[in-house]
Amino acid sequence: MASSGSILGNAVRRKEDPGLLTGSNKYFDDLDVGSVQVVFVRSTMAHAIIESIETVDAEAMPGVLGVYTSKNLEMAAVNGFPMVDPAMDRPPLATDRVRFVGDIIAAVVADTMRQAVDAAEQIIIDYSPLPANADVEAAITESASVIWEGQSSNICLETALPEMEIQNSTDPFIGADLVVNERILTQRLAGVPMEPNGCVAIPGESGKLKFFVSTQNAHSVRDALAPNLGMDPEDLHVLAPWVGGGFGPKAGLYVEHIIVAKCALTLGQPVKWTEQRGENMVAMGHGRAMVMNAEMGVKKDGTIVGLRARVLAETGAYPGIGAFLPVLTQTLSQAVYNIPTIHFQAHSVVTNTTTTVAYRGAGRPEATQMVERILDKAAQAIGMDPAEIRRKNYIQPDQFPMTTITGANYDSGDHEKSLDAVLVASDYSTLRAEQEKRRAANDNKMLGIGLASYVEVTAPLGLHAEYGKCEINADGSATIRVGTSSHGQGHDTAFSMIVEDMLGIPSADVTHIDADTEEVKQGAGTMGSRSLQTAGSAIYEASKVVLEKGKQLAANMLEASADDIVVGEGALQVAGVPAKSVSWAELAAAVNDDSVRPSDMDGGLDHELVFDEGDSTFPFGSHVAVVEVDRETGEVELLRHIAVDDCGTILNPMLVTGQQHGGIAQGIAQALWEQVQYDEDANPVTANLMDYLMPSAADLPSFETSNTETASPRNPLGAKGIGESGTIGSTPAAHNAVCDALSHLGIEHIDMPCTPQAVWTALQAV
């Protein structure tokens, strides 16, 4: 849709940056609202009966305003996900028992953070330990103790496609020359936004509450929080100030939010919660955490015949959306290939761990990791190059749009194009030759080349509609309101570019408002890489309506035909006659002036709508990772990462590349370093940034990113999401690269993360 001279498609610098670079933009913890501080006392036992909680000493500590347990701060238990049995709802403050390390037992409110911490340390809890389990495979054995009273097992949700009766009576591998299998772990990860969770609750007049929260979705926090406070959503004003990263785990309501709001309402004064990192590592939802047993049947020529997947997904102690994410894995399990038969079954399993939630990719990386790993194993078994087995099986461009046998409604794609692009960009054949040379020389620095092709779903799970409003102000500037919730993506910049392109109002004169339930009528927030295609399209459509009205008005004022009115700089003008123009400020005045406005025209230059693109969009791409593995130490060094990602038509390439970079780093981190770990008693052992191996700049190379552009037909911008593609493509590429480096030694698979210890251990078994 971008015409020549359009700002769209250009690398426009961000409007957001000056305030972030000078430290003047406010995150919730920076707000000076005279708040007192809450600190939570969390369970140090993974599973136990609470025999007693002694709070008397804490109450007497300096500055303490309140010490709350389930005995004196009543709150209903909270449902983690609608499909989960309400018997597993979580009491915000633990009642009779705790179920994971981090469960909240008490809340202490004091004048200052330090006073609250001092007081919290005076609280004595007497526990009677219960058997605890953090092993998802052990949790479904017959001898496993059932975590939830009244449940018959630890399985809380399951999905199967096709239904198990069919799966049990048919063979998905008929015609296969070979069936390969592997147990593939997609390990538990922590989101680690640099700003942890937190909020400030400010009681107002007549029962109202203002609630600043670090979130990806202010409206859903309002709608979920209000009933837990017995409030009308209208009385609850939720807004996100600047948010320091989200990555999925900040997409929903936390029980901490409820407790903070209750404390503020009870005390009648503003209360703040500032989550500390050690707390964040056990309290913020984790991601991934699936064990995927995959089998793939292929013919000798590389044709895929069928796929069977048996998946265990860990939900944590209080099941949330993580219990449902295997359904997205199932939906994407056909990946980018023509796979005639897929048998998929997943069980979601409760363990004594932190709740699992959506984390950058959320269900789709798991599918890609599984298919790309098992496909590589099949390629190796039949002696075919990984690039060629992929090429052999790709869904072809003329097959789109198509609905897969797993129910994904793919919009568009050209997988061979992205494969060819990444093979050229990586100089794949030269890499293979170098690998051969090193192998022949028995080089201690073993080269590994990993390839992955992916498709993912953006604006998934019905999140393909969004609110947007465009309004021309009296001074000729514009204000846009959107239901998305920016937290680093650069929405202000991107959406303002759309207004500039449509109306000729400089993006600097566009005010972007989001994440505020009073200023924005409705919203579904930012998650699932949905923002540009939904809210961006809403702004496009709303601006278009404003433009049409502006043209009618300008035509009337300039005594021209509306068809001859074109967009100028901050103005509308007669085509070819720039002198005959009327500024947006003049138009804004005229539209409310009965003597100027046509009699059949309403006042006001604004339009709001909900744009619905009807379905999700499906970005795709191919990545190549090149690693060097030290045969002596097992250390893996990522030498290069080359990504070709297709997110449809690109609006601002600078923002797109930034998303690719960040996604790639997080994906590589899963392949090589990160893992939330528990010991045999379900104690977390990676609950800080010293033990959890989030990479620094020194661990990573610069990335080689590029794009193909295959427009989505589902929205006027042609856009697909880019927020998660980097993560989805890079993990299997890097994982395959490590396995590839070891394959000539007879090592067929190594679990992620491919740490020096894991690789060294595998090498010792050779």
């Binding site: 000078t22 300096p62 640099m194 320091g244 620094s696």
Partner: protein, 175 residues
Amino acid sequence: MVLGGYASSFVLARDEKGDTVEISVTVNGDTKTDEVEPRTLLVYYLREELGLTGTNVGCDTSSCGACTVHVNGESVKSCTMLAVQADGQEVLTIEGLAPSATELHPMQESFRENHGLQCGYCTPGMVMAACSLLKENPSPTEIEVREGLEGNLCRCTGYHNIVKSVLACSGQDLL
């Protein structure tokens, strides 16, 4: 330990007498005199007493570097230092880096030009660390930039554009 380290590791043991100590610190050119608890970390003095909230806190193990400031011209993680240790010292925070309210420091400008930030939470610390890095090594290689910023974590950018920003600020176009 009731909190098991999940909330309290950033708060040092309380002085039972609740005494405070007077300190005098020059922050962004202004000398401030305040009474602080001896256990107060420099970062909380800056944020809570002086209202300089541009310096962020991202962890409680001195791992992330979000709180990096300059003390006497050298970059310091302000969570690793007590406010009382800053007595008589000169501290520069992100709020004091730009030459004026309408101009950015060249490093800030370079981060903006090269999209070296997304959510912005690590940015003040990253920029302060980067300035210190170039002061010590005005023409670093890419590897030297990466190793020089090892103590500052970012979750958004994958570091690519941060490294690019620092190299560009050094007058090098290497990426």
